[in-house]
Symmetry: C2
Subunit: 723 residues, 2 copies
Amino acid sequence: MALFFRTIAGVMLMLAASLGMAPAHAEDGYELWLRYHPLAAQQAQYDRSRASQLVADAATPTRAAARAELLRGLRGLLGAAPPLSDTVTRSGAIIAGTTASSPLIAELHLDTSKLGKEGYVIRSVTLHGHAAIAIVGNDDIGVLYGSFHFLRLLQTGQPLDHLAITEVPRVKLRVLDHWDNLNGSVERGYAGTSIWDWWKLPDWVSPRYTDYARANASIGINGVVLNNVNADALILTPAYLQKAAALAAVFRPYGIHVYLSVRFSAPIEIGGLKTADPLDPEVQRWWRQKTDEIYKLMPDFGGFLVKANSEGQPGPQDYKRTHADGANLFADVLAPHGGVVMWRAFVYSQSSADDRAKQAYSEFKPLDGRFHANVLLQVKNGPIDFQPREPFSPLFGAMPKTPLMMEFQITKEYLGFATHLVYLGPLYEEVLSSDTMAQGKGSTVATVIDGSLDGHALSGMAGIANIGTDRDWCGSDFNQANWYVFGRLAWNPALSTRAIAEEWIRMTFSNDEAFVKPVVDMMMGSREAAVDYMTPLGLAHLMGPGHHYGPAPWDTSLPRADWRPPYYHRADHQGIGFDRTRTGSDAADQYAPPIAASFNDVKQTPETLLLWFHHVPWDYRMRSGHTLWYELVAHYTQGVTDVKRMRETWQHLDGYIDADRYRKTAAFLSIQEREAQWWRDACIAYFQQMSGLPLPPGFAPPQHPLSYYESLSFHNVPGQSSW
Amino acid sequence: MALFFRTIAGVMLMLAASLGMAPAHAEDGYELWLRYHPLAAQQAQYDRSRASQLVADAATPTRAAARAELLRGLRGLLGAAPPLSDTVTRSGAIIAGTTASSPLIAELHLDTSKLGKEGYVIRSVTLHGHAAIAIVGNDDIGVLYGSFHFLRLLQTGQPLDHLAITEVPRVKLRVLDHWDNLNGSVERGYAGTSIWDWWKLPDWVSPRYTDYARANASIGINGVVLNNVNADALILTPAYLQKAAALAAVFRPYGIHVYLSVRFSAPIEIGGLKTADPLDPEVQRWWRQKTDEIYKLMPDFGGFLVKANSEGQPGPQDYKRTHADGANLFADVLAPHGGVVMWRAFVYSQSSADDRAKQAYSEFKPLDGRFHANVLLQVKNGPIDFQPREPFSPLFGAMPKTPLMMEFQITKEYLGFATHLVYLGPLYEEVLSSDTMAQGKGSTVATVIDGSLDGHALSGMAGIANIGTDRDWCGSDFNQANWYVFGRLAWNPALSTRAIAEEWIRMTFSNDEAFVKPVVDMMMGSREAAVDYMTPLGLAHLMGPGHHYGPAPWDTSLPRADWRPPYYHRADHQGIGFDRTRTGSDAADQYAPPIAASFNDVKQTPETLLLWFHHVPWDYRMRSGHTLWYELVAHYTQGVTDVKRMRETWQHLDGYIDADRYRKTAAFLSIQEREAQWWRDACIAYFQQMSGLPLPPGFAPPQHPLSYYESLSFHNVPGQSSW
């Protein structure tokens, strides 16, 4: 029957292709990397013989999810799902389960002692005389993770023989932070509105939530902060907690815990108290009761994310208490339930005249050791704010007694919004592989984050989600890769982001090498291109005021100095760059001595960070032998050239994938090329006015005078918090 | 080959069904009534023999769209598209085209003289000795409309023999008004955000726009106002006009014209003028140039929709000019291009103490004859604002020299938002069939609207769209029926809305009589149920302040008297209702004498409108013999009972349709039942406090005391204009 069916299916596919039949549904990106479209015939035949029956039970929601995913995936990839069986009766069986749940798996006597709760093995075995593949975890969630991994092997065309895969996550908390407001808008969201339909929850639970959970589980994400860090206290009211609990119920089988962003002053706003002082017993009681109420609704609730005393948010300093006092308030009420506090280190003072890049370190370093055991300090990758390139934050390595959690941005607030193709893997990898030298060579940021450097059992990585109601989830098909690479790196920060790009392309688009190779190259080069056309050589924060759209290095319209581009580039007739050495703000000395030494020395500072740490004259001689001015213009120009090349590469790939996704990416690359040109021309025009220097020979002048770029203004720019 | 293919396809479908295979894509409502899923075997066999080949060219974009739709529809419904042919070579050919474009069709010598531009015939004919079906229009758009009609015959299981269909639209402008803001929010929208991705237009043109155009063309809608009547002047800037033009290019092949809502003060806001006085030559020149600019981008641009001097919007009265002066300003600049002005009659003064229900009539009736030829006055169906039930607006029939355009609301601002199942067909039909008696018996609102009563060539019907980014377009599957019925009635206001409901159900869900019959009944009763549980017996506007969510008959929080529920119900210890007779506001006398006479007489006034026109004592004796108080309680209770019955009806229909849409509707009916109960209980509790009367025997008391209902407040209610 199965063979017959597969034959018919094959005929159907052939016929459909030969008649030029459009598929019933468009390729709209909804399926993400879990498309499970039919494999090429030869590979499908190979895989079918190794997935000829499925032995997996559905006795728990998580094992049911694993089995359903295997059936769904194999059905899609191979044309038909293998038959379910209670035992192995033929060569090529797939057995999925835990040692405790499956006597068959128990017979294998696999060593699962080091897998922990979330790890798994995928092993080629012999069972009752038949070759089989076992997918085994200690816990159900390991089985689910292993099932997704197994499907990925098929999706990416890997061999299925002699499998001996052991995977254990290196980071404990792998979390998406949604900056979603309760009115449906998403701060710095460029993919529609919030996917949480708060209004209809908890009565109506959209099937999309399940697909969201599947996608996250497929890359090992195990936590979701539902709401914006600029939190509305309403999230803690019973009505909203019921809504959150409905989502938690969907996520639970997929190993995903719900967290909430809380507003420090909630005891006043919804609790009727007069204070939110963390040392006030009434305040403590209020939070304890609220926390108990939450855990009644969600026994596996993850904990709180808190933005306090940052950009106008209330916090413990309003009561002359420290960040540690604030964090410990929450830690103590969460601890009995096993919850954690993720306390954000993103602070900079409204009043301080100190270099903004220094302030988080100055604030938090002295508090090392003062946080209770279930507090993680959540630190943005760089000292400012998700710029195309920053040095790693000096906090990494500087607080050995505190688990530091990484905060990456997946949404592209400063990297072209939805339409620029910028693969963030290289950015993440650059940060994670940076050596803090905190405990000598090899003290990489990754070892800080995964807890290994300082022996923390608690560890975490957060990514600001780029997910919204857009049908493709992320505003573009290629933005999906940033969600994907974030999850894969949170699981294992040592993975190659090139390899991750390749597997994502294979799963999302095609296994055709003629497509995969150029697209991997395009993705891998895309982040450096963005750095070049936006903020090369260590420049930062030249974006338009508030909305962060397009270039505005001249702009001084915002009320705070450290929100204005000139604060960052400090260009004048003599030179450009922010002196963060000992002659300047001395931010460089926040790093470990060997790193500080190189950042303090203009000659040792990597040129990619030159203007981050140094104010240098326009005629400063670069390693190339050219002047700084020349290199600045050259980098801006290179960025545009790179995007042009990306667009041309894509043009050559027409026909390799469906027309819908091909055309959308083509349209977006055109936008990117135009905007890259705009960035280059506006910045060159502006900096030329500063430098007073002629354009180096061989470079085209800006298309318009500086006044044109300065005159542009934009309305209804997406991603702003107030609609 | 075709037969072989169909056999294989049949086997596939059987196999898929027998193996319980989930479809690759969920039934998420995206396909609307154009699903084209396979017909039952017997019907498919019948239809295949009558659609055995397709003779249709694709030489123009509109004919290409018609042919593509026929191929898509027949492929989906019958398992395979019929082969294309240049001529008729077998029995069962479908020939689609115009007399001018197709010599074959010319051979038929069909009388198309009365079809106009948009009409069509579908005729069973004999061509070259073969039985065939001809789909013929004078113009391409007629061919497209006819093609959709032909497909509808198949979708709804109609016979295809002896076809002699002639269709001509009875209303010229059939328009959807989108209350979409440029920031993506939708005023009174309950289906996500605006489907116009303004930010990415014109570079990225989503395929969804084409599906939107297909859906509209399938029901004959030929105009779209892209933006909110509370208009932002920015829509007229070059950047936004480019975006609008990109949409117009998508819509053009589907016979859909783009219109824009314009802000009266735009010459000041974006034109740099000091005034927007319609008689100022500079203002006139500005609008003329702006209009010329628009027509350069969109030669088939439809015209302007204007909300002026209404709810704070600027308008001609700011300059002591009349509405006619304002409308004629636009009329004169649009006339050379063939464009029209749709001028809204929805006005009520901030300062006037006069009954709000009277004000539009008072304002506009004296202007009859003062509008230029290309002005339509767009009048809401009732004198207040889209209530569950209102009498028809007294303007209908009162302005014979002016084409009056109907404005219906499709989005359910006052009818339960997205989740209440309320089929608006009966509401529309009730209004359209109302006799204004303006020129004696038979002067129905429909005859005013279609221009026949007063001999206007220009006629129109507008519906406030219920469309957004939600995957199902309308916030629920059943809300799609309201878009559908609006379009069908705009084409022909005399159609039966029961018949329309039935055809919609067949196209959207199933042809199974066991499903169709109860769902038609449920839909047809749903509007009266909503009237009963919200505002029975002529009550109106008891909704929550501003957001219009839930009951708040007690609320006086808003600044204007005529925004407060007590203004409308006027309940006190003696009685309830708004006296609009000669002893009261005398609104009744705005109707033609025979109608006015009956509305002035409490005994002749239909009880469905009793409290709209009369303030009557609580012990007023109703036709049933019961008191008004009894009937009020009985109606509120009946509304809840009806919704409970709807939910039970749906429960019995599990299994007739896909699980996805079944479950969503079931969840929404549960919400509706709970909210209907809330409405009933809150209103009875409140009116009981007013009447001081005991609950009539046999009726359950409210579940909570009045204070409970009064204490409820709501945050982030959807559909409000400011996010």
